[in-house]
Symmetry: D2
Amino acid sequence: MKSFASDNNSGAHPAVLQALTDANDGFAKAYGEDPVTARAEALFREHFGPQARTFFVTTGTAANITGLRCVCQPWQSVLCSEHAHITMDECGAPEAIGGFKLVQLPSEDGRITPGQIEPHLASLGFVHRNQPHVISLTQCTEFGTLYTPGEIRRMCDFAHKNGMLVHMDGARIANACAAQDCTFKEMTTDLGVDLLSFGGTKNGLVMGEAVVLLNPEIGEAIPFFRKQFMQLVSKMRFIAAQFIPYLGDGIWRENANHANAMAERLAQKAGAVNGVEIIGEVETNAVFSRLPEKALETLMDEYYFYIWDETERSLRWMLSWNTTEAMVDEFADAIRVAVEG
Amino acid sequence: MKSFASDNNSGAHPAVLQALTDANDGFAKAYGEDPVTARAEALFREHFGPQARTFFVTTGTAANITGLRCVCQPWQSVLCSEHAHITMDECGAPEAIGGFKLVQLPSEDGRITPGQIEPHLASLGFVHRNQPHVISLTQCTEFGTLYTPGEIRRMCDFAHKNGMLVHMDGARIANACAAQDCTFKEMTTDLGVDLLSFGGTKNGLVMGEAVVLLNPEIGEAIPFFRKQFMQLVSKMRFIAAQFIPYLGDGIWRENANHANAMAERLAQKAGAVNGVEIIGEVETNAVFSRLPEKALETLMDEYYFYIWDETERSLRWMLSWNTTEAMVDEFADAIRVAVEG
Amino acid sequence: MKSFASDNNSGAHPAVLQALTDANDGFAKAYGEDPVTARAEALFREHFGPQARTFFVTTGTAANITGLRCVCQPWQSVLCSEHAHITMDECGAPEAIGGFKLVQLPSEDGRITPGQIEPHLASLGFVHRNQPHVISLTQCTEFGTLYTPGEIRRMCDFAHKNGMLVHMDGARIANACAAQDCTFKEMTTDLGVDLLSFGGTKNGLVMGEAVVLLNPEIGEAIPFFRKQFMQLVSKMRFIAAQFIPYLGDGIWRENANHANAMAERLAQKAGAVNGVEIIGEVETNAVFSRLPEKALETLMDEYYFYIWDETERSLRWMLSWNTTEAMVDEFADAIRVAVEG
Amino acid sequence: MKSFASDNNSGAHPAVLQALTDANDGFAKAYGEDPVTARAEALFREHFGPQARTFFVTTGTAANITGLRCVCQPWQSVLCSEHAHITMDECGAPEAIGGFKLVQLPSEDGRITPGQIEPHLASLGFVHRNQPHVISLTQCTEFGTLYTPGEIRRMCDFAHKNGMLVHMDGARIANACAAQDCTFKEMTTDLGVDLLSFGGTKNGLVMGEAVVLLNPEIGEAIPFFRKQFMQLVSKMRFIAAQFIPYLGDGIWRENANHANAMAERLAQKAGAVNGVEIIGEVETNAVFSRLPEKALETLMDEYYFYIWDETERSLRWMLSWNTTEAMVDEFADAIRVAVEG
């Protein structure tokens, strides 16, 4: 299968699979009370600061909803971009399971600003409206774009000044940190982010996501919500184990750097083809583009990728930790042939 | 770690880990549209009949709630034993996520009867009461006891005659089928069970549970509920792959037979100690017992197991697919020494 | 219609209807910001103490669920009698709307004791179980029986010592206070009750219930929950106005005393008939009884009342503020004729 | 109080209060099984067609959520204008209680079109998205504007062709029908509307709203949802009774005609003042306007009305069934004085 559709289509890094085998050593306490889980949690503290509390879950949607629910009552609201995964791709879990309202803000490239939050503060104290309480940023965004550290810090300052919190959907946080050559802590804790959905699956794990509470004063009920939200895995060591090489041996950055580089490579090679439009800047591991209609059909016969927006005729190509240079080059050649006829 | 606490404390069968490696072959479509998932679903059809529709999830609680929610409106109710996992050990997921009411029926050994359901039919049509709609049986029960096929068939007949459905919580269905030397189909589809929570994790998987819809007329919304309930894993092939050796190569029965045999062995050896009471009959892989208080303390210093009921002073010893005869014998000896002083 | 079925079948006291007309004076702010509502709230403070915060709602179920939800997270639980209205007669609103679990305690006469709560404290801190947090008492109970002030105080002390709260379902609290010849405050605030569902409808209002928060430290989110739970009535003055004569002119006690006296009268007259069994003690406005089968059929042709429990063949006769002595006497005569043939 | 803020601030029509007194005739079955409720339900059938099923509730929010929940699963969505009451003014009840997602469509004047729904049909069958299922129109809109019968019919045709339903939020449906000089049936049933939130409170009732199911094939579970949503009032006759003069004696049209005429009068008189801008067309009983800042302050000292949108500096004046010509004229004069200095 030749996939440029999603980093979800990639497999697991060999070291991650090896970690599963290493963890399969006789009996261990269930539900996260085992030494492997303790080791993984310690690694998160190393990467996010000593106050970080980590709760493993099984999907990105679960990380978002579990984390948000712990800090947001059903009569409050979460403000996010209109393109945010929580509003576009979670089949109503925020509403049906979280119970809270999503307030969606218009956005060109997936990013939002304090200026867009401001008018919603007028609802504070008005009993007919959900009370704005959490701002959710996706870093990198669903378009692969990045908030700068300064933008995140300003959003956090704005939130805290108004009694609100900042959640970061970090389904691809590794790609973001790799792109900005910073640590996880520099991207989150140091900027004032209150809680994070930490994604590992897209970047080389079998299955491993986590809610990371960075603000020590929030989320004390999270153990109960995680269980109630059907996320308390019994053989937790097998989730946790994956993070040991991922965080401990730097696989996260290696994989993310590679995926980002492959996106840059594809954008350059495909963008050089006359008739191919690369949309926006390529900041992480996603490339958005437009192709002539006929070329598109030819290409989709052999390669798997998504039409992102039917109306705008935009395409998304997603590069993965295990996309090779050869794959990129072959794909770029195929694009050239398809477009140039 | 010397654990007789739970089959959740056991690890994964080597063939299951190997299946993960085998599935880690380049790119594959996400969310279950891959060939490995297709193969695993086909195996479920082989084992449960061609009409069986299988939806993988990540925890036993998720299997129960996703399945039940698909067939039960919030104004209906699920009737179960007062000891059922759904009411005792899911931190309110049935109520908070499913929305429906649990009607709990008294039970000595985890089993319930049509005679206990009957009086609740009087609520049908009475708008102030949740409408009885699903009967949930745990096979084997939380006490390790078994419904006979005849009992299950009679419950299903009773349910269907009254417009109700039967759900089976099969977190340990392998142990049940092994104990009764029958196939999965003989235990479920053939008896009229409508839907099943199929458990694999306790019997040797890394993580793998499933909702299996046996009645072809129910649950059409399950794909949406699974996603909304945060159970649609992106790299689904890694859940599905585990079922290939488990169901395809008979590991399920081999593991379950072994765990059951270890329980029988422990019950016999420990039960032969003067002062040790084995409670009830050992039908699958659980042994319930009572020990003198002082012996208990000594024993718990070295061995890990649960006090089941503080009031009744009962203990639960759970045997696993990877509990060896030597472990059982050592534990039985330790019991003897602790009790006899 | 000759109804001994429910105090819900009675009408409204003339002074209450007059209060609606009095309140219908031109324009007034909606949603409770009007002077009539302010006056009614002040009356509640007079009756329950200056710290009492009152939130009007439209049904008894709404009072229970709104109040309980404000103090109980979905991963916590409410402990109540197995006969409690919240578990028997609210069609799953506690679970589906409140989200929390109800833990039902066996009870002969509708009352529960601290000794029944105690074993459930073992679940505290155990992540698989809902955390016990609120004890709900019905005063008077669904059987018309009463907790003594001492019993309530002991339950409150027990609850507070264990970090729990006490909710009182006071759908018929007027009947309880009338029977014990005490004030509302003596029955609630003074004993340590944290929050109350105050019922007025059954005792002579058109429609008027309220959540009364007695503990000043709880329920700060109640205005938002009341709105979200669809209970924030726009022309609130018409709910509030009813409480002005009800609480201000003593109608509550007058009506309740009368209903209670009618129950006593009926119990004495009917109980004197050979073949009629009065079950338990008549403490407020309910009479439970057993009649010969044939007499029952005859009687139900003309009089409207409920068979309470089909299995036990028990009947419930409920007396109302507008049941007259003549009605009682006529009914008692009819019973005599039906039974004696 | 001089209120032009909301028709919720008006009182009850004398005939409506009289109906309460008339209904207060001894005992009657509770929960809607009484003859007064039967009579009111029959009146709804007269006005909406013989297939109409009516379920009384206590607030407009309750009508919306109860009705929508009966036809919309939590994994489906309701599409509405961004200004719709369900998304702006119900404190998250759609999400937290209904469970479904609201998809908000941009709108200048509160109206939406089939062309805006169309792109969302692309989500059908995509498991990551809520499935579009109900279109909710407000008639008249939150801006007092009107859909023409033709527009409603086209929306219904579009919906049905795509397997969807149309809900009408008729909190002010009387004003709409009065403005278009049509019957309720001509505005709903005849055009293909599937279900209606029928509002009476704003137009002269004490408290009375209803879900009216017009499509005979939907909503069979509504009795249970109404109870669970805390809307099954015990002394239902007092809700129902109000509709007897309201629908039976034409009060609805008389009141609505008057309120609409008062809006027209105010718009003309105030609009004639130099410096006052009337925004949009006045079609029912709402007038939107802009005033010079200084005049506004002066005016708000004496008159009660809302600033509708702080950013746009728009005001809303709402006229009621009991606003008199003298009040309008006095207010218009006050506006003139304030503006002209």
